[in-house]
Symmetry: C2
Subunit: 205 residues, 2 copies
């Protein structure tokens, strides 16, 4: 489709570095992967809160604001799940090019999906966080009764029950989130993440 | 598709007002509509530059960063053009909910398209700028030879030639961009736009 592209090119618009200087931070995409009910959105929300207190400017993308908007015309077939992740990665890239730190919380169960996201976003900017909560624990939590419905066959293609979850091979962070001390977990995440967000104005000279 | 939505709800994430406080601005979507080569992206780029100098934090969306990413799997059929605008409006809404001022530069030739964008974004937040450059002037400019190709039949469904442009009925700003004094045009736009972007912390109390 690119060859049909009839847009004008305008290279004077403010670029990523201008935005990073404005916000005094480096933009990254922190990508949470894990089973349903593993704690991805909870951790992303807490991390955002702490980063915000430290004067970092973030945006969370999760099912809540994505499936109800940009991706509302997608379903849960394999094809649509891949398109779901593709659009999320492209939206993340737009935000990142605006200097913003993204916290993306999506099951994103396969290596193929996460690899695609990483390629769109760029390897250096893609920080993968594996929320490693065992299936039994997630199924016991089951805050919305989804595992129960999946076991009963009411939900098809449910990750962990009737669709595979492939653990990431080399994540930036692994969070053991079975019996979490959330404050301590967030602290350990910040120790790894904060150096990645540190903006050095000397690099702009 | 909404009813298939199996995401978790998390209401503790930072909302629009937190972000507007952080950036000390009100988020709006400034939507430029007009013919190809009417000057939409040029004006959006100049406006962003001036707003940035005044310490406003903006993001431009135009064909350049949208058609090459989130919308690269769309074509120029009527159905895809509508989906193009729908996704752009949804992305704009995500940015706006992050406190950011959007400058969207898209031909968006029909009332139907702009009405859909306005409904997604919300009427109060949608500031429509009609870049009113006559077809003859745009065709004379023709920086990329697109009008010539459209006249020759090489490009189908080209707005103004083989597809309609419906002027907006009640735009927030009309820019007469035939023989523009660009500096003066931007100044007049800022006079109208700046009051809309002014953040009043008293409203958060």
């Amino acid at each position: 489709m690119i060859e049909n592209n009839i847009h004008t090119v305008f290279d004077k618009i403010k670029g990523r570095q201008d935005k990073e200087v404005f916000l005094k931070q480096k933009a990254k995409v922190i990508w949470f992967t894990g089973l349903s009910a593993s704690g991805k959105t909870t951790l992303a929300g807490m991390l955002e809160k702490r980063l915000f207190e430290l004067n970092y400017f973030c945006q969370i993308l999760d099912g809540d604001n994505v499936r109800s908007g940009i991706n509302k015309n997608l379903n849960f077939t394999n094809k649509d799940r891949l398109e779901n992740i593709r659009r999320i990665a492209e939206v993340s890239k737009l935000f990142m090019n605006c200097g913003i730190i993204l916290l993306c919380a999506f099951i994103s169960p396969t290596n193929e999906m996460r690899q695609m996201a990483k390629e769109i976003i760029g390897e250096d900017d893609f920080l993968e966080v594996f929320v490693d909560t065992p299936l039994e624990v997630c199924e016991q939590r089951d805050p919305k009764g989804l595992y129960k419905k999946a076991r009963g066959g009411e939900i098809k293609n449910f990750t962990g029950i009737s669709a595979p979850f492939e653990p990431p091979e080399n994540p930036f962070i692994v969070v053991n989130n079975t019996n979490p001390n959330l404050e301590e977990t967030i602290k350990q995440m910040l120790i790894k993440i904060l150096p990645e967000l540190k903006f050095d104005p000397l690099t702009t000279l």
